[in-house]
Symmetry: C2
Subunit: 393 residues, 2 copies
């Protein structure tokens, strides 16, 4: 039983946990003899949902890597593929390091895209699977089979993805079918075929901007409809929804909503990106994530999904408490919907995945971003006061 | 003497301070009997320059203010003017609170715009002046007489600004002469006249976007030239330099460089803004700042100029270590040039305003943003390990 907590920063109450589930929310709801933790008036939230990151390739905890990469996407992708070998990047160890940070910050579920290419094969997937197994009491990890180096331009990649999905990767990935592969029909047909074959959802990286991105996005919508994959497709980044054409973007938002295609946005600084309020108002499920953290692309990122609320707020010019409350849905309930997490949320009967953070108001908790007072995974305390949940050698 | 420090994250050495100045940099340069501090291999930087903030109106440390303001600039300005009274905002106390945070994070100089309007008169200026005097051993504060509510649309404001400058405000401010006052000639003639009368520099807020901002900026350039104020004018925000017209922006950058007009950018998320590398390459002095911190406009901000390097990097797609090194110039040397700080920087003979932060590399220090190991103002240690330098009741 955790006494004196404020769910969603609202009225103070108590929450009782039995086994791995919430059994009651309400003052004095706990049975006699329950272990009692004092929440000290902290804000109670369901576990945060990190719906887009790259666990396999963070450099966190390794010797500082001086970044001197070119500015284009292909420069970064090529460099990264080579650096993995040069630096001796171990996906199991590195993913464990990032997971430790995420757990301490209140994340209870991660969707991680994991690189698959013809140089490194399935090493990334195997490494993240090892981490997933080893730390399954701390966090749930979902793996996206992700063709970071392209599919059609690197024959053999589709077969590797097929193997990864057979091994247990939960989601079929994709990457810029037009700009990367120069063959949107080829890549999209291939990944939708994999999704149908394995009965798994899709999460496609789409950095393509403006009209190009809208063109490719239209092809994704068509295939979602044709294969009856309503509610099973996510488009990550979706920069093209930031295109400055009110009507064209509006029609695309309608198409996405009609096919229940979700959108993932990090609230990127500078790049065009989905207008958050408009996208939510269109009835689209929006989730968010940290994307890469301290990797060969850039040195930034902390993996903190509470801090992510601030990025989404700043990028979308949202300062009002009631707008910020809507962003909290993105990093909790809506992210859980995208990941199809069962029994999620602060209700009796649901799984006790939750966190406590001190704060006067939700927006204040974001602005101050204090260490989490307590993080609980399936009814077990996994971190207190921001402490690492486990050590990684 | 501080032993074992790495100036700019380069080779390890020692630094010797005598009185308020650096007397030597180099191993074993200290005289016998000097007090020795072990820098433990930390990065040594000159004091960080916060060249644009609003000390008078942070709500930091006050009861959380639920923000429910409209989205336009005028909504925010009107709301703030009213909330100052409703909340009983005390500019002396609030500016002291923000200064305490800044000092702990290694800032040694602040340029603060301070609101002047016909409702609150010079209360803000008086409050920040009280803070400046009270904490002068901790930090140098420069005050910009800032007509936040407009000048031409609020008669009496120019006279108040004149008084503020006579009282000791160092810089003449301005605000969106076209969009706010609807009288660019009127406002610019008035503020340039104040600058000439008082022999003081100008720092003008220019949020006006695109062609409108470029039009107003052109009028600022003309007056800078006409009054011989080369090197004495800063344009803050300068969003219009983010306008998507390569040649027009290029010509404006040339005009700014020719008249040594500086540009302040926070690296805003979303808004168009000056392209950092292009602006620097044009020979323009670029400085940065936190802008408002947790105020009636928005809940964000920490006042940390090391973190600001990350914002500037993300906004400008800069990830390479050598590009990030250039951003460090913006928050140190170039900011010092804008504020005309004498004897600034890590050289023997200069004032010992400096900070130590742990880190493998400059970019790593930004990404990790640890508490500052030590902050020194004029040869005196004012903070260690991120501790507040003083308490504010």
């Amino acid at each position: 039983m955790i006494k004196n907590v404020r769910p969603w920063a609202e009225a103070q109450t108590d929450i009782t946990i039995s086994g791995d589930r919430i059994s009651a929310i309400g003052a004095a709801a706990g049975g006699a003899g329950a272990e009692v933790i004092d929440g000290a008036g902290a804000i109670l939230l369901p576990g945060l949902i990190e719906a887009h990151t790259h666990l396999d390739k963070t450099l966190f905890g390794m010797k500082w890597n001086v970044n001197d990469v070119g500015y284009t996407l292909i420069d970064k992708i090529t460099n990264e593929r080579e650096m993995k070998t040069k630096l001796g990047l171990d996906p199991a160890r590195q993913s464990a390091r990032q997971v430790a940070i995420s757990v301490a910050r209140g994340t209870t579920h991660i969707r991680s895209h994991v690189d698959i290419d013809t140089v490194h094969g399935l090493k990334g997937v195997e490494g993240v699977m090892a981490t997933r197994e080893k730390y399954k009491e701390f966090i749930d990890i979902e793996i996206v089979a992700f063709p970071q180096s392209g599919m059609m331009i690197r024959p053999g990649t589709a077969k590797l993805m097929d193997e990864a999905l057979a091994m247990g990767a939960e989601v079929v990935g994709g990457l810029d079918p037009s700009s990367m592969d120069k063959d949107p029909k080829g890549q999209l047909d291939a990944i939708f075929a994999l999704a149908v074959k394995h009965g798994k959802p899709l999460d496609i990286h789409l950095h393509e901007p403006g009209e190009l991105g809208l063109f490719t996005m239209g092809m994704i919508v068509e295939r979602t409809k044709a294969h009856g994959l309503t509610g099973k497709v996510t488009i990550s980044h979706a920069f093209c929804l930031g295109h400055n054409d009110y009507l064209v973007v509006g029609r695309m938002l309608e198409d996405l909503a009609r096919n229940d295609i979700a959108v993932m946005t990090t609230g990127p600084s500078g790049w065009p990106c989905p207008p958050l309020i408009r996208t939510l108002d269109a009835g689209i499920t929006v989730c968010s994530g940290s994307d890469g953290i301290r990797d060969c692309w850039h040195p930034w990122g902390t993996g903190d999904m509470l801090e992510r609320v601030m990025y989404l707020g700043e990028r979308n010019y949202l300062s009002r408490d009631r707008d910020i409350r809507r962003i909290f849905d993105v990093v909790t309930t809506l992210g859980a919907k995208v990941m199809d997490i069962k029994d999620y949320g602060l209700k009796p009967g649901n799984i006790a995945d939750l966190m406590l953070v001190d704060g006067e108001a939700l927006a204040e908790a974001v602005a101050s971003c204090r260490p989490r007072r307590l993080v609980m995974k399936r009814g077990r305390v996994v971190s207190r006061d921001g402490a690492a949940p486990f050590e990684v050698a």
